[in-house]
């Protein structure tokens, strides 16, 4: 359900005040995206379903912590979902990404709808990512979207883990310089 950023901020405020309808609005507007983020890291599984539930229980409990001046509502929500999914992935929850190759696709760059909605920040970030060598850009995106560890990336690319670590750190430093903040 598409709602504006302002409506979402309003719904988060309502949620902080204990308004269940406002909470349902937040869920309706964001659960598809957050579930996508979670499933890309954990695979389609009961664990992913459980994490989705935990994320929204946390949103209900912590909506008062959201600071509209510090981040956009969707960024705040996505950060909660990614962190929770990554923690779960590191607890050894098995991922079925290899059984679901479509989940290993990095969300498409050429999707016209995505392009239309692409924010200025994303355009800048992508310009900087394009400054990396193709394989290094791929590594950064694999880690971000799928939460793959250096070892997992190394296995996938058949490179030593130490090399992947060096590449990642250099790529991230380069990104930071490029973004200039």
């Amino acid at each position: 359900m598409p709602v504006s950023k302002e409506e979402l901020i309003e719904a988060l405020r309502g949620t902080a005040g204990g308004d269940r309808d406002a909470f349902k609005t937040v869920y309706a507007a964001t659960s598809v995206k957050l579930y996508g983020i979670i499933v890309r890291i954990l695979g389609r599984s009961a664990v992913a379903d459980e994490v989705l539930q935990e994320v929204y229980v946390r949103v209900w409990q912590r909506a008062g912590d959201f600071d509209a001046g510090a981040s956009s509502p969707i960024t705040w929500l996505a950060t909660i979902a990614r962190n929770r999914a990554l923690d779960e992935a590191r607890r050894g929850s098995m991922r079925s990404l290899d059984d679901s190759p479509e989940l290993l696709q990095v969300p498409g760059e050429d999707d016209p709808a995505a392009n239309h909605e692409r924010s200025e920040e994303l355009r800048r970030l992508y310009a900087c990512l394009d400054g990396l060598e193709a394989e290094r850009k791929e590594i950064v995106l694999l880690a971000y979207y799928h939460g793959l560890t250096r070892e997992e990336i190394a296995r996938r690319l058949e490179r030593p883990a130490a090399t992947v670590k060096t590449w990642l750190r250099r790529s991230l430093a380069q990104l930071k310089d490029c973004l200039g903040r």
């Binding site: 598809v32 996508g36 983020i37 459980e50 960024t75 692409r118 430093a173 990104l175």
Partner: protein
């Protein structure tokens, strides 16, 4: 590499998601005590979060919202106490409720109350829902976190499915089935 660069690299990889379990655990433990690390993490979240805009999304399972609402219904589950435990207003409801509690058949009786009163009395329906929710929520709260971490994903998937089935059975008024399922779940071995 200077200490600052080291902290920044660690924060960057933490946010990116590429740290292994031990490193991730270490950063999570340190961020609360080290303001510089916490600031570096926040900055990297800001830098990389635009990538989440690209997530096209996947439709979550249909039962997820109900399960979430059930989990936030219990007292003390919100920053503010849940105000939606609505007492039965009808004396018939109270009699039935007392009888039910006495018989220890909370779920099935509340379902009966719901069945009897629901057409004319919406709060009763919420009461019926509340108790199954409490059973379900109580189960997950009582579920040992260490055991949760120790069991395999397949087992966890099974536990999660069975808990949902127990919740459904409770909702449907099948008390015996619901209790049996929750009992079996509590006995799940790691």
């Amino acid at each position: 590499m200077t200490e600052d660069e080291d902290i920044d690299a660690l924060a960057a990889e933490y946010v990116l998601g590429s740290l292994d379990a031990a490193e991730r655990g270490e950063v999570a433990a340190r961020r609360g005590k080290e303001p510089r690390l916490a600031a570096a993490i926040a900055a990297w979240e800001r830098r990389l979060s635009p990538l989440s805009e690209r997530e096209p999304g996947i439709e979550p399972p249909a039962h997820a919202l109900d399960a979430i609402l059930a989990r936030i219904s219990g007292p003390g589950s919100a920053g503010r106490p849940a105000a939606d435990v609505i007492p039965l207003r009808r004396s018939a409801g109270r009699r039935w409720a007392a009888y039910a509690a006495g018989a220890g058949a909370v779920c099935v009786a509340l379902a009966i109350i719901w069945f009897l009163l629901a057409p004319s009395d919406r709060p009763a329906r919420q009461v019926a829902r509340m108790d199954c929710s409490r059973l379900y929520k109580g189960f997950w709260e009582g579920f040992d976190r260490d055991r949760y971490a120790a069991i395999s994903p397949e087992q966890l998937a099974g536990v999660s499915r069975m808990a949902l089935r127990a919740y459904d059975a409770c909702q449907a008024g099948d008390e015996q089935d619901a209790r049996m399922l929750f009992e079996r779940l509590r006995g799940t071995k790691a």
